[in-house]
């Protein structure tokens, strides 16, 4: 098996890009990722995207991007797994290099969300869930997570302030992250004073809508970087759960994440305690809590409480959401999984600036589609 | 034509008028009254500068209700009471169809999982419900079907500020009629209808709200047709007012049914139990069938009930209905009284009403 290296990265700021199309964004990120190594011509281009058909009436993103990059003849395609599109695209590229099929790959996550108004974006996101039985009745993605938040708080006696801990950590880190959508710290009071959008969830419990593109150039170990701080991908695993959360016996168990994490950790030869930096899928405060529990960083029902104790803060035991996570950096759906990889890369390379986790060696990214319906967990390490 | 051997003999039977089949009977009934009530003082507050208004409320359907949903709710209750497995016909009487073209009755049929049915929507302003009931009766009497469903339902709307807005209400009443058996609730002994071309109230195709000729809807329309239909019923079948334990008239407002009852020789005791207008307003095609249902909730076997509908345009159906022994057992099992539904209500203000009934232009 070939080793897989994250050679370089490129990304746009997350937020409103009124003047840029979905292709403009993808090209911008791709060019930045390709620039450091002009001699590497990616042997495959994989685009992670969820709803370009809704936002831009555009599909066929693989060839569209390849052509725009003057990389025709290169195999190129889009993969879609709702909010996990980016993570899944990364996983496929990783496996292609690992198996020896290709020796380099460009993985680009992109989403244009701001061209949709809020009800349209909400409808587009709901396509991650069952069109026939969830979307039909008017249950948006937000509403499903809100019901989960109520159940979580009731079941484990989690207070409003405890639930607010992840958004507070996210914003605290986003405040000093250049590419973040919200470069502003918030307090637990800010969260509990923000408007209810789908109770008990308030506006500041929820990742925002924003545009963005993120690209990574992956290469096999035939390629060796000269600055000495090489970032290897140790493992990447995808798992799936029973499709709709209400069809599951225990709605508070993120079994896809649990499964993907245990396999990824095992293949990487690490345990939870080895992890130095953690990017979790904090689409909603409750999602972050259930995710850290499923991966084993917190005990069942303790995720939000641990966050409130500072365990997931930048200087905590398991620094998480180090550039703001989905909540602070922003959540351009199909790009999110790639932003996570990039942020781990920045940390492991020691390029985190104000957000640097000192001496980190192993990073974990967890990217979810749906309510833990698809989960991708990847482990990266600094060699 | 030989008369069917009448199971409930009564004197003065003569062979003219609408001969009702004696082998068909009401097997179950169910009503649906939406939860919200708009007091008429709210309409007066908005449109009359707060002048005094009669102390009445009208039933208002929620924003996700229409005649289809209310018809299904009423029908499900009626079927449960009747314990009927199969229907041969479904008629929905209404003037507020959400689809101008496309039957409501097929949606009701689908929701009830009844497909081998003759299904149709009927329109005759406020009397389409009693028409539906008579058509089902005739189909059973003729032997074409074993049992059928008749529904009167409306989400009546008055133009904002119009007199009608004080009373135009929403409700549904459904009746299952079947071959007469020990479980039957009531049998229709006689029927007499009377119509004329009298345009007192109408809604042209494509128009959202009906129009009316104000006071003209009283004497030449409501009173004229009801009095003719009831008098004919009396003449044809030999009834007199004192034969009836209850009398149920169409109730467009609290005053008309009392007035017409007194003119026809009935007393207040006979009509009081069915006077629902002050509590729910006028739910058009459901109106007189709701009055019948509230009476059936309390009537005893062998009681005779007069029901007379009125539909603008114009006409009346007068029915004499004999209560049967089955009523007690069926009521006991159904545990579902009209008065409970009238009471389970929430008062709303005009703003909420405007939102629920689509009067806010977004």
């Amino acid at each position: 098996m070939a080793k897989v290296i994250v050679a370089s990265v490129g990304y746009t700021r997350v937020g409103d890009h009124w003047d840029k199309s979905i292709l403009d964004l993808a090209v911008e990120a791709s060019k930045k990722a390709l620039k450091p190594y002009p001699n590497i011509r990616p042997e495959v281009i994989i685009v992670g995207n969820m709803f370009s058909s809704q936002s831009s009436r555009q599909e066929h993103l693989g060839a569209l991007l390849a052509s725009a990059l003057n990389l025709t003849r290169t195999p190129a395609f889009k993969v879609e797994a709702a909010c996990a599109s980016g993570g899944v695209a990364f996983n496929i590229a990783y496996n292609k290099i690992r198996s020896g099929e290709v020796s380099s790959a460009l993985v680009v996550g992109v989403e244009k969300m701001r061209d949709l108004d809020t009800p349209e974006a909400s409808l587009a996101l709901s396509m991650a869930e069952s069109a026939e039985y969830t979307q039909f009745i008017g249950a948006s993605f937000l509403s499903l997570n809100a019901m989960l938040a109520r159940l979580y708080s009731e079941t484990y006696n989690v207070s409003r302030d405890e639930l607010s801990a992840f958004p507070v950590i996210a914003h605290s880190n986003a405040a000093t992250a250049e590419h973040a959508q919200f470069r502003k710290a918030i307090s637990v009071e800010d969260v509990s004073r923000s408007p209810l959008v789908s109770d008990p969830l308030r506006l500041l419990d929820c990742a925002p809508v924003g545009d963005g593109a993120a690209a990574v150039l992956l290469a096999s170990d035939a390629f060796d970087e000269d600055d000495g701080a090489r970032v290897d991908v140790l493992s990447s695993k995808i798992s799936t759960n029973i499709f709709s959360v209400y069809e599951r016996d225990d709605m508070l168990k993120f079994d896809a994440t649990r499964d993907a994490a245990s396999k990824a950790f095992s293949e990487a030869g690490i345990s939870v305690e080895d992890v130095d930096v953690l990017e979790v899928h904090d689409a909603f405060s409750v999602t972050a809590a259930l995710s850290v529990e499923a991966m084993g960083f917190s005990r069942e029902g303790e995720g939000a409480k641990d966050a409130a104790k500072g365990i997931y803060a930048l200087r905590g035991r398991y620094p998480a959401l180090t550039f703001g996570g989905l909540k602070g950096r922003g959540h351009p759906v199909g790009a999110t999984g790639i932003y996570q990889i990039i942020e781990l890369w920045l940390q492991l390379k020691g390029r985190g600036n104000a957000n640097q986790v000192k001496g980190c060696r192993i990073g974990v990214a967890q990217n979810i589609g749906g309510v833990d319906t698809t989960s991708v967990v990847s482990v990266l390490a600094r060699r | 034509m030989p008369l069917n051997n009448s199971l409930i003999p009564f004197k003065g039977w003569v062979n003219f008028g609408l001969k009702t089949p004696k082998n068909a009977a009401i097997a179950g009934y169910g009503v649906y009254i939406p939860r919200y009530r708009l007091p008429s003082v709210e309409v007066a507050r908005i449109w009359r500068g707060g002048e005094e208004a009669p102390l009445i409320k009208k039933a208002v359907a929620s924003l996700d209700e229409d005649i289809t949903t209310m018809a299904v709710e009423a029908a499900r209750r009626a079927i449960k009471m009747a314990e009927t497995k199969e229907l041969g016909a479904i008629f929905v009487g209404t003037e507020t169809k959400p689809y101008a073209v496309k039957p409501t009755s097929t949606i009701v049929a689908q929701a009830l999982n009844q497909h081998k049915v003759l299904a149709s929507d009927l329109e005759f302003a406020c009397k389409a419900g009693t028409e539906a009931l008579q058509l089902i009766l005739a189909l059973i009497g003729s032997g074409m079907i074993e049992s059928g469903l008749a529904i009167g339902v409306d989400t009546a709307q008055g133009r904002p500020g119009d007199d009608l807005e004080f009373t135009a209400a929403s409700a549904a009443a459904a009746y299952i009629l079947s071959k007469r058996d020990v479980g039957s609730i009531a049998v229709v002994e006689g029927a007499s209808s009377y119509v004329s071309d009298t345009t007192d109230f109408w809604r042209r195709a494509g128009q959202q709200y009906p129009r009316h000729l104000s006071r003209f809807t009283g004497e030449p329309a409501y009173f004229y047709h009801i009095q003719h239909a009831v008098k004919n019923l009396f003449d044809e079948f030999g009834y007199k007012p004192s034969d009836f334990k209850y009398a149920v008239f169409h109730q467009p407002n609290p005053r008309f049914p009392v007035e017409v009852a007194l003119r026809l020789g009935f007393n207040l005791e006979q009509i009081k139990p069915s006077l629902l207008n002050p509590y729910i307003g006028n739910p058009y095609a459901a109106n007189s069938l709701l009055g019948l249902a509230v009476v059936l909730d309390e009537a005893s076997p062998n009681d005779l009930i007069l029901v007379c509908s009125f539909g603008s345009g114009a006409g009346s159906d007068a029915l004499s209905i004999r209560v049967l022994d089955g009523v007690e057992e069926k009521r006991r099992k159904a545990q579902n009284k009209v008065r409970d539904m009238i009471e389970a209500s929430v008062e709303i203000d005009y703003a909420t009403y405007a939102k629920l009934r689509g009067k806010i232009v977004a």
């Binding site: 039909f136 249950a139 019901m147 159940l151 009731e154 209810l196 789908s198 | 709710e73 999982n113």
Partner: protein, 129 residues
């Protein structure tokens, strides 16, 4: 949408799920293969019309297609046969909502395409207690 609605109208109108003929497990939405025993022999089964609220939310920003209906209450209801079903909860004051509240199904309008388009109907829940 009109045709995909037509295809599922019995599911929506009557809460028609399915049931495994081997182990009797019941499902709504219906499944293709029994999750409990793996059997592919499943028959349509109407779900019971009553249950209790497991969790709920009051959604203040609705999706495209539901404009004008906000706020809408959405709940996950455990039916009397144990099946968990997602549905709107109507005619219920917000302060009367509680986990554990008994509910029953009602037949309601879900939404309409436009004033000229089709109307979609289906089940919702209303609180009994």
């Amino acid at each position: 949408m009109a045709i995909s609605y037509w295809r599922r109208r019995d599911r929506y109108y009557r809460l028609l799920g399915n049931k495994c003929t081997r182990c009797n497990a019941e499902y709504y939405p219906p499944v293709y293969i029994c999750r409990r025993c793996g059997s592919e022999s499943l028959i349509d089964a109407e779900m019971p019309g009553t249950g209790k609220i497991l969790t709920y939310t009051i959604l203040r920003e609705v999706m495209s297609g539901f404009e004008g209906q906000q706020p809408i209450i959405i709940g996950i209801v455990q039916l009397d046969n144990g099946v968990k079903v997602l549905g709107q909860i109507v005619d219920t004051p917000i302060d009367a909502l509680k986990i554990g509240c008994k509910v029953r199904t009602v037949f309601r309008k879900i939404r309409e395409e436009s004033s000229a388009g089709q109307i979609y109907y289906g089940y919702k829940f209303t609180v009994l207690c």
